[in-house]
Homo-oligomer: 494 residues x 2
């Protein structure tokens, strides 16, 4: 009986979390602006009730008394207990104070970015780092306080491992980047800025999201928001968002396919995990591997453009005029060191992440002071990418994460990039999948992803999942090989 | 301190209710269809948590310990205690069982209506009537069990009063209806069926909703749903819905203005009642007075069409061709006995309500058996409107209310009609308001409504509010006079 009661209680917490998520989605996509202040209170109430319900002693009793009758029950109890113990280490007052400080820091960041003045944000970032240190102390760790933070987003991952993988990645891709930047243009990139109406971008990106990636209107919808995201309220209730720039179509196209990758992961999670803490992706890194696979490995591949260039030409003839599949393939794979992470290409992107990871470590250790952060940022940018931001808005203030207290989050982007190729390489060992991928057909690949990644939800750790699906732990090998092969060809580096 | 804690707890319940309302709105307007089953569970969880929080002993203690420091505090304690005691009389198990039965009854009703076979629905209606009787017994009443049900929707109203007002209304409007139906057409009604695109209907109805009725996008939005409704999650977060028929534009136009009346009422509720049980309209009847005032008294008035006919002609020239303000005014005021309540005009509408009220009383008293309901329905239709439904779908099965367990709800529609004219007459005593209304300008009228109706929320009872705003209790007088004057003119009955 206690398994039933456990599932019932977890279902209620899940429903409460879903309501909070719906309120967030609505806030970003539908809500009239004057509703903002009360919506903030409503969100805080739901977050507080969810935390209270999930940390209540009753849940601990149910976990202790649980007699799992199946493997699924055992995994449910194990993972839920891990979450329960972690959540219980943070007192409600601490969580509330941190939430309040995050809200203030976020507002300060918006103002500081608008004024491009880091010092307006500095005191708030100091508070965020202080909360991060206290969070790490409350959670506990063996080697490094960063481990306690990273574990929230990438269970089981340690800072030392990230450091080692990142060093390998840097050493092996920096020379490639130097060769590419020396090679000159590989296409006419002005095609990316040809006028392309929002309605036509929407039509084309949704057609591909549906045909190629399986995103059906029966369980998903696309809306517009200032910052694109994916959120879902059950595995059959997926919401993705995008933004349209009518003179730079890659933003909405690849953005939509990126979020489609996240959505299809959530859609593939096994029904037995619905309304439990296991009913979502295994980690942010694994999640990112799915979004990056669709956005980059598939939608920025040559077979994809061979198949979909004619479709693009049908929807937007002016954009396609004088172009062909090959020129479009090269244009959307432009590599260029630039200032902004979210606009970075496959080669430079990870340097943006390494920079942030190293700075987070130094800040947390106290070897770097917050006030010296812009200088440290700019020095790293020069070292990695050979450029220096003209101001803080295009440098240290560009990302929302730190203002939201998200310390330890950034590495998951690069871990996801690495995993995306490692997974796709494993899947393509199957000749039938390989043959389809060469035709930009992804039906068998999507089945492989459901079977080997999606269905498990959080019942496997990212490490377990990676080894089981690819036969080895995560490394930079596949990704480096992918980049070298692809960009040696595009930029004719031989 | 306990007033603070009381307000905090009520705020949390209000936030939970808002989340449930958002989930409902989303379900009707945005949600992908495959999400329905889980959404049902999410809604049930939020409803259950809300009920549990609102009926918890702690709220009773806070109400007992409250030391109101202001008139607002006193009203808050009084009304909340009334709600708390009423809610506490219904055991949670009873509420849950009733909710489940309602859900089953609703599905049965959908199937029965689709098959136009009342007997498919009959056993469920019997259960609904049984739940209604038990609800009345649990709540308690002095004169008639109907009073306990009606009180939920129209606090303080009794069945005997409704009976008396309705009898008066019937006696005084039935002769008018006979004279109108004998008079023949007053306009070319085919104009109402001219093609009018959904986009143009939306543009025109929103322009009027904004200019005439004050519905601004800053705090309100319009979406499409199968059945139009208004819902809100705070006074600055109003959602109205409509449906478009491109060959019958009155449906969306008057429907949108109707829901705008509901929305502007909620928008006008005083900020001091936000996130409390008093932060919404005083009753369903008072609410309906606001929606009917916009929909009928204003938007079906001659000055309105004198002002807005040219705007309609600009948006939809084909609809306006060969017409003028006067012909359009007469067309949208067609009176004709018909089968469907929601499509009824100002004269026949209330007979649809009287019929339902009388049948509800008889069912509750046991003088009418559920199985005999279609016969009783059809007999009343013949008596009041001289027509007989060809089948159950166009008769006894047309409304959703009984399937949702809403017994005692229907009378509020007619009470709202009566109150709408009584309020407008009172407002028009002010010569400045009268002068504006004659020009289809409603700024001063809207201010009057905020001052005399909206701002109080539920802090005044409907009876208090009616007497304070109009100088006398609700009666049929104003409404009857309004109908006689208006339709004597339109149908040239002199």
């Amino acid at each position: 009986m206690s398994m039933n009661e456990l599932r019932q209680l977890l279902g209620q917490v899940s429903d409460l979390n879903a309501a909070e998520a719906l309120m967030s989605w609505d806030q970003e996509t539908q809500m009239p602006p004057a509703a903002a202040p009360v919506r903030g209170q409503q969100l805080a109430t739901l977050a507080g009730l969810g935390h209270t319900m999930f940390t209540a002693p009753r849940l601990g009793e149910l976990l202790d008394a649980a007699q799992p009758g199946s493997d699924a029950d055992r995994r449910l109890v194990t993972v839920t207990r891990r979450d329960y113990e972690r959540a219980g280490r943070l007192p409600t007052e601490f969580v509330e104070a941190r939430t309040l400080a995050q809200s203030e820091a976020h507002h300060a960041w918006v103002a500081a970015r608008s004024a491009s003045d880091f010092q307006l944000f500095a005191p708030h970032l100091e508070r965020m780092m202080d909360f991060a240190r206290r969070t790490a102390d409350l959670i506990g760790y063996q080697d490094h306080p960063y481990d306690a933070l990273l574990d929230e987003y990438e269970p089981g991952m340690r800072a030392a491992e990230v450091r080692s993988v990142f060093a390998d990645l840097r050493d092996r891709t920096l020379p490639l980047l130097r060769r590419i930047t020396a090679a000159g243009d590989a296409a006419d990139y002005t095609v990316l800025r040809r006028p392309f109406s929002a309605a036509a971008q929407r039509e084309f990106s949704l057609k591909v999201a549906r045909e190629a990636f399986g995103l059906l209107p029966d369980f998903a919808r696309l809306d517009v928001s200032a910052h694109p995201f994916q959120i879902n309220f059950s595995r059959n209730d997926l919401r993705i968002t995008t933004r349209f720039d009518e003179t730079y179509f890659p933003m909405s196209l690849f953005g939509t396919w990126h979020e489609t990758g996240h959505a299809m992961y959530e859609h593939g999670v096994g029904a037995e995990w619905e309304r439990t803490p296991l009913g979502r992706g295994a980690s942010l890194g694994v999640h990112e591997s799915q979004s990056r696979m669709f956005e980059n490995l598939l939608a920025r591949s040559r077979p994809f453009w061979q198949r979909y260039f004619p479709e693009l030409a049908a929807v937007a003839p002016e954009v396609a005029q004088g172009q062909d599949a090959e020129s479009m393939y090269r244009a959307v794979n432009r590599v260029r060191p630039d200032l902004i992470r979210v606009e970075a290409d496959e080669v430079t992107y990870n340097f943006h992440i390494m920079l942030r990871f190293e700075l987070e470590l130094s800040l947390l250790e106290g070897t770097l002071q917050v006030r010296d952060l812009p200088e440290a940022w700019n020095a790293r940018m020069q070292e990695f990418l050979g450029i220096t931001p003209p101001d803080d808005a295009h440098g240290v203030l560009q990302d929302v994460h730190w203002s939201a207290g998200l310390i330890g989050y950034f590495p998951t982007y690069t871990l996801g990039n690495l995993l995306s190729v490692q997974l796709l390489d494993a899947a393509r060992q199957d000749p039938a999948i390989e043959a389809e991928v060469q035709q930009a057909e992804y039906g068998l690949l999507r089945e492989w992803l459901v079977t080997n990644v999606h269905q498990y939800g959080r019942s496997l750790t990212p490490v377990e999942l990676t080894v089981q699906a690819t036969g080895r732990p995560l490394s930079a090998d596949s990704y480096v090989q992918y980049l070298e092969q692809k960009y040696t060809d595009i930029y004719r580096l031989d």
